[in-house]
């Protein structure tokens, strides 16, 4: 019974969502929006689990004091300050929460993201080598598109930017499209297996 009911729920929810696509009539037309709201609400409740886990892991570190344990204090303090400030003053513009977001959260987030400029350089230096015919194609198309994207390309040969665009618009698009079509079939098949209960590991069925 403990295993049957979730499978029944999965089946019904899945079939209803497939049907709603073909039935404009109410209540089907509203279901997608309704289920989405429900999902979001469940996610917020689930956050209790995630945050509980985060606290458990770090309070344990405070008790056991392994190397670098005091960073756990930084983590918990960061959480506490942001959470308290947010719950007291709310998240609107001009609140302390907003101030911390723009001056603490955002700079770290943006710099983390900007690390990619370095990683793109190191990854391409290492991986773009003409080792095999396939790797050579990867290399050549990357170089052509890259050169086409900067004024430099225009100086070398005025057709380079156009060739870069052409690669993007045709061979690249064809490759992307093939991947997309494959993905669609993979998703249809996985979804179908889930809805029919053939794939149930996520429910720890077997």
């Amino acid at each position: 019974m403990k295993k049957q009911i979730p499978l029944i729920i999965t089946f019904i929810a899945g079939m209803v969502m497939i049907l709603q696509f073909f039935i404009p009539h109410r209540p089907f037309s509203d279901l997608q929006q309704l289920f989405n709201t429900w999902f979001l609400i469940i996610t917020v409740f689930a956050m209790i689990l995630g945050l509980g886990n985060l606290f458990k892991v770090h309070t344990k570190r405070l008790q056991r004091r392994p190397k670098g344990w005091w960073y756990s204090i930084v983590l918990l303090a960061g959480f506490a300050i942001m959470f308290i400030v947010g719950m007291i003053w709310g998240p609107a513009r001009g609140t302390p929460f907003d101030y911390l977001f723009w001056n603490v959260h955002l700079p770290m987030s943006s710099m983390m993201f900007a690390l990619l400029a370095f990683f793109v350089a190191s990854a391409s230096y290492r991986a773009f080598r003409a080792r095999t015919p396939e790797a050579t194609l990867l290399l050549v198309s990357a170089i052509l598109v890259m050169i086409g994207r900067v004024p430099l390309g225009n100086y070398i040969w005025d057709k380079l930017p156009l060739i870069g665009d052409w690669i993007m618009s045709y061979p690249n698009m064809a490759g992307q499209r093939a991947i997309m079509i494959g993905i669609a079939l993979g998703i249809v098949s996985t979804s179908l297996r889930i809805i029919l209960g053939i794939e149930r590991t996520y429910l720890s069925g077997k």
């Binding site: 696509f21 985060l54 590991t201």
Partner: protein
Amino acid sequence: MLVAGINVEAFEVLSSSEPPVSPTEVLAKDKPNDAGGSIIVTWRKSDDDVEENELVKEYLVFRSSALDGEFELIGTANKGFEKFVDGTTIDGTQYYYMVKASDRVLHSPPATSEAVSSSAQWFHSGRISMLVATVMICFLILWFIRKAKKGKELYIRPIAGLEAVDDAVGRATEMGKPIMYIPGIADMDDIQTIASVIILGRVARKAAQYETSLLVPCCRSIVMSAAQETVKEAYISAGRSDAYDADKIRYLTDDQFGYAAGVDGMMLREKPGAIFYMGTFYAESLILAETGHSTGAIQIAGTAMPSQLPFFITACDYTLIGEELFAASAYLSKEPLLLGSLKGQDMGKAIIIAILVGGVILVSLGFTKIIAWLATG
């Protein structure tokens, strides 16, 4: 001064002293394929509605429930337009529509429609091609699953990234290092994440058999719960329930880059021997994969995000491309039922190729109707 809800004083220059010519052929019909509550009103442009001058600036649409009743202004359409959708109707009620051309001062005499009422439909007639496609592909997949159930041996080609899973787990074990499994940053509403949790189950079982510890940092609480459940089950079925440690499957933060910062730190300190990236990734893909590479771990990635595939390809040892991610659980489990569904997918692709090639030939010969037939609504 407000005339029909429009601020007249905003227009100082009166374009003409005569009202414009009326629009013609006002037609109202129920908006098809909706949940009711909408009527489409169309008309033919007023003869004065031309690009060169401003004799007509807009059309005013009025509605009444009786032909001789009071007509109420319900909306406007810019010049040059011949359509208005009234989304405020009550199903089953009869309405008459009246359209006037206007230069914002003077209105043309009205043109009126027949009576019409809106209704909701039970089937979306524009989606027949989708219905056929859905039924056909689902049927094919189920057909081959059934065939596989009957014990028909199915060939599945080797997929390098999946063959390497065993090796990666084995190598981490030899080095006495943990395995790290990153299930992407999307929530459980994304099929890639669900597929990732399923693959995690297979990897966890191997890790349990090899007695290697498995770290799973998560970006979403529900994913963490599902991952804990799955890993626990895998350890139980491998007969190693004592080795399961829920704290190894941990939540960090819902924040994309906060998560990337945390996982990067974990990689440098825990020094995993093998790292798996399976699921939905955005920009953090390369931040994680380059850091992982610098630790010297074997890296296997799989995602159906076309934009992130190039980065995994360059920074990881093996990458599952798009559909291969979804094939992974079937492939790793070697269960005939799941392998059957792969065969079904292949048949789906065969049909798509047939439509592609046949369609291109037909279109090249001038038979373009096929494009309309494939419309998905």
